[in-house]
């Protein structure tokens, strides 16, 4: 996904003089050709993430469309107050693009893991949150984000599904139909969810857009599945539970939020090792989904 992002952003910078890219060393080498062509609009501030977001906020105040990019924990967690104040409180807007996801670089340890990034951004009003599940989904999401005038968080990962399954309209995409529950797979979780639900009487719906969430689509799908909803998200478990409540305020419903657990494992290894620890393997998901749907 990062390669797609680099290619897409480079092309956008070439085409649109209204755009600017701010980096904090991460991915700087990949953007060097773009920096050489647009030295005033491709800015590497060094390993200074607070400045990264502050500068992006300042660029927005002059009418430019900034894209700020670095590793997820440094972009969202370290610079969170800058996101809150230097964009939101200024009534300014831009595009944040992260790499690293929850634990793409599992061996690097907790400092490089960011399972809470989406939950943090979700505390801020008005942000769109896009979580592509395949490299082929990235370019369209990127272009829509940069071409708009709102604030967008685009969360890239080294992990993904076997194929692209959604565009940019933000709607839930039903891939299977069942009666016992609707299982919403977000971004890179889809392949695991499809494997986990083989033979289960559940609807599987995919999305790469969690804010704004397709509430109308969920109402329709949940209504045909006993208003039983399972969220499978590649970040903090339960992050989108509130949007399920918001979508179904007038109907009794049950919600199970699956995702990264609230625990610091103090472990390294591979992303697959962490999937095991967080119950996100197909087998673990199948057990959790089947058990919840049967209650």
């Amino acid at each position: 996904m990062r390669e797609t992002f680099v290619a897409g952003t480079t092309a956008i910078l070439d085409d649109d003089p209204r755009t600017a890219l701010v980096l904090a060393d991460i991915s700087a080498a990949a953007f060097e050709p773009a920096r050489q062509r647009h030295p005033d609009r491709v800015l590497n501030v060094g390993i200074r993430e607070s400045l990264l977001v502050g500068v992006a906020g300042g660029l927005a105040q002059t009418g430019l469309r900034p894209i700020a990019h670095t590793y997820a924990p440094f972009l969202v967690e370290r610079a969170f107050e800058q996101i809150k104040l230097d964009f939101g409180n200024q009534d300014g807007h831009g595009v944040l693009v992260s790499v690293g996801a929850s634990y793409d670089n599992a061996q690097a340890g907790r400092s490089h893991h960011a399972p809470g990034d989406v939950a943090l951004i979700d505390t801020l009003p008005g942000w769109e949150i896009r979580v592509p599940g395949h490299p082929d989904e990235v370019d369209a999401l990127l272009r829509q984000a940069v071409g708009g005038d709102g604030s967008v968080y685009l969360r890239l990962s080294t992990r993904g599904n076997d194929a692209a399954h959604a565009g940019t309209d933000g709607r839930l995409v039903p891939l299977r139909t069942g009666r016992r529950a609707v299982v919403v797979a977000v971004g890179p979780m889809l392949s695991a969810v499809l494997a986990a639900t083989v033979g289960l009487d559940v609807t599987v719906a995919y999305t790469n857009t969690v804010r704004p969430f397709d509430a109308a689509g969920l109402r329709e799908l949940a209504g045909a599945a006993g208003d039983t909803v399972v969220l499978v998200e590649p970040y903090l478990a339960g992050t989108s539970a509130r949007v399920v409540d918001d979508a179904l305020p007038d109907r009794p419903h049950r919600t199970l939020g699956l995702g990264v657990r609230r625990v610091d494992l103090h472990r390294f290894g591979t992303p697959a090792d962490h999937d095991v620890a967080h119950g996100l393997t197909p087998d673990a998901l199948r057990h959790a989904i089947a058990d919840f749907a049967a209650r």
Partner: protein, 212 residues
Amino acid sequence: MTGDEKHEPSATSTLDVLWVLYDRVLRIDPDTVGDPARDRFLLSKGHGPAAYYAVLAAKGFFPPSWLDDFGSYDSPLGYHPDRTRLPGVEISSGSLGHGLPLGVGVALGLRAQGLADARTYVLVGDAELDEGSNHEAIAYAGATGLDSLTVLVVDNRSATHGWPGGIGARFAAHGWSSATVDGRDHRAIESALTTPLPGRPHVVVATVESKS
């Protein structure tokens, strides 16, 4: 102004430099607040905005009668400025350490759009420089020769541990041009603000009476 203003030393320390900025230096007035080529002034030290509001009102950015309602729910004048509520305010501030990084971005954005004559001024306090985000901005602006940026440090010696070696020296170490003036001397403030060195960002340290 009425009510519990708070941060009175923070406000009174900035009154003279703010007046000089708006009266003699900044290329901005109530009729040009939307002009892309205007100078920008960013009050990073949003604490104690009473002086800022008074100067803006005196210069016609809003009616002086608004001052009477300072801090009330519907007033556009809060204890920290809100750019969405008050004409002429470039940034919302309050939390320290945001204005200078934002100012670097504003200066870069103006440069990228060919608005080379528009200068960006940021006012910070000496205590505010304790915030590490400022030093990210100071280092980067110096390294990149961002010479359309001027920082005005109002020094009332309120930083908890002070600035051994001097504030100007901290900026100069990163390639800034530096001047230190009496923060009550209008001519000296004007002269220092209007004589930056080409190729370097510029800092003016305006010393005023100690907060204590």
